[in-house]
Subunit: 351 residues, 2 copies
């Protein structure tokens, strides 16, 4: 890949350093942009517009194909710990992984604002490639469109992902049982707090970086250690609270978490106190919550902690019979508080 090796770059055929409307027109300028910024990084050389793929895993009797999509509009586009490209790869990989799928292939579609710096596109694309390599997935097909200045905000990325769910694996929130244990793989709210701090208008300086990371490796390790794991969700928009509410509703159980058990950084608590936010609703981009039978909880926790993405893993609560759909938290002071679904929004364009 040209961008991350020391091979001297080829002379550019792109006139100027910004995207123009011509780069979206379907003609020569568009082909130059695609060839220079996108194709080298994504596709096996010579492959066509449409990716043609085979996988033995997909052919196995009982295997299912998993398919997911997400648009990414995060602002700012680059932030401590990641950028829109990295988050687009992680987000789609994680959507597949928490459903029990092994991610295989990604597509990437770019909506680019006229005037966007080509150097920014290079960085975003290099970061997608690096994260895809790390996660062991291939970005196999793509698209670019250009819209007039003021009709988008620099660049939006939409990734779709295809993966394979091995036979006999059926993670689903509906299968959670009373007594099952809830485990998170790491500290909460880093991504949300990072984006907040990265927005110029906040005048917050923190050392927090986004937790943006791919969780497919972690999920495979955990599912080996805890083969009866019930369901997982990545706690993105709406944070842990929204995740747990969805799972409580789907399982027709209540979920009780313990505030003292929640892994939270002091810096994140600080940002939340200053701004009157609740870390339970802050977005994460590399954090999941997993429900396992009590008998497998220790094994799942140990498996998580053995991996870099699971260093901060912790048991945070459990599912209980009754009060279907309700999520509560035992507070630091021994009380109990309802953890409701987020109404409205805490922070726009978080991912």
């Amino acid at each position: 890949m040209n961008m991350v090796t020391s091979v001297p770059p080829k002379p550019s055929r792109l006139r100027g350093d910004r995207v123009t409307m011509a780069h979206g027109g379907g003609g020569k300028a568009m082909r130059d942009l695609i060839e220079e910024v996108f194709t080298d990084v994504f596709l096996p050389p010579g492959s066509e517009d449409q990716a043609r793929l085979t996988s033995d895993a997909l052919r196995e009797p009982g295997a299912q194909l998993a398919f997911t999509t997400d648009s990414f509009v995060v602002a700012p586009i680059e932030f401590p710990g990641g950028d829109i490209g990295k988050i687009a790869v992680c987000g789609t990989v994680n959507d597949l992984a928490v459903g029990g799928a092994k991610p295989l292939w990604l597509s990437a579609a770019f909506i680019i604002e006229e005037g966007c710096e080509i150097a920014l596109l290079h960085r975003v694309v290099a970061s997608m490639k690096a994260e895809a390599d790390k996660a062991g997935v291939r970005i196999v097909t793509g698209d670019t469109k250009v819209v007039e200045r003021g009709s988008a905000d620099q660049v939006f990325v939409t990734t779709s992902g295809v993966g394979v769910i091995p036979p006999h694996r059926d993670l689903a929130a509906e299968t959670i049982q009373a007594g099952d244990v809830a485990i998170v793989n790491g500290v909460l709210g880093d991504h949300g707090a990072t984006i907040l701090a990265a927005r110029g208008d906040m005048a917050l300086t923190t050392d927090i970086t986004s937790d943006c990371q791919s969780l497919n490796g972690l999920m495979e390790t955990v599912l080996e250690a805890a083969p009866n794991a019930r369901a997982a969700r990545d706690a993105t928009r709406g944070g842990l609270a929204s995740c747990l509410n969805e799972m409580a509703e789907a399982s027709a159980l209540s979920i009780e978490i313990d505030e003292t058990a929640l892994p939270l950084r002091d810096e994140v608590k600080g940002v939340c106190e200053v701004l009157g936010l609740d870390p339970l609703y802050l977005a994460n981009e590399g954090t999941l919550v997993l429900f396992v039978p009590e008998a497998e909880a220790d094994a799942a926790l140990a498996a998580m902690r053995a991996r870099p993405e699971g260093q901060g893993a912790a048991i945070i609560g459990r599912a209980k019979a009754g009060h279907a759909g309700r999520v509560t938290m035992k507070t630091l002071f021994g009380g109990q508080r309802l953890v409701d679904t987020l109404v409205g929004e805490q922070l726009p364009r978080i991912c």
Copy 2:
């Protein structure tokens, strides 16, 4: 599907008739928007965020999975003959079909501008559903994001598609041979001319409507009639000219087309004359060019004409040895003219 039957609509939980930032926040408002506008139409009830799919066709030895993606930013969003939703389904179905794949499943991701009318979203989504039904594909997973007013233009749609290429089918421009015949399924330029006329600032009134249609049914019929067909492309952005140039380059042959043979409406010619445009570069959204061995040309043409999408089918030229990558046209007056790749753009936001 709620939108197109006469069942009285359920009372709306969406406050107001426009999208607000809260609808993208990951909380209750977002779930209401998704449930009211999107889920009923797309997903089998109760299915999860991530689609889980199986297909016997994919398991067949030698079958390949095809995967493609496109973002759609067409302006205006609604135009005679279609809207951004219909074009998003047709575009992705056609990308799969011209590569020889049978389209199976689509994803749909929406980037919505704050203030977008919810009624518009309803119409776009209903139109996607109608076209998907017509094409025999399922929209199985989706996403919505909301950005601030001025950071998008009402709504952008990104569709990805998964299909299956049956064993022993290998359409590729590289396989085109000298002497092969080029056939189009219908008149050229309708989509481009429609979008031009639909832009308020042009003060053009025409009766042209977009050719926006799914071509997977037509492709299957033609491939039965002409089993040795070499390659097809849908002539979207950049028009027929850009398509032919790509195919000439990939095959290392030249392509000669005949101006008298090109199916063109008088209205399209008129729009082009008034505006100084060349119909060869006008976008199409339901028109493909197919190369077949001469021996199968009549069968392919007849198979096209037997279908509504192929009523206007015509043989327009052929591939020739030498001058690799060059496309020429015999003009009405008996001369010969070079048909170059589009440089820059004829019309922004055509799809």
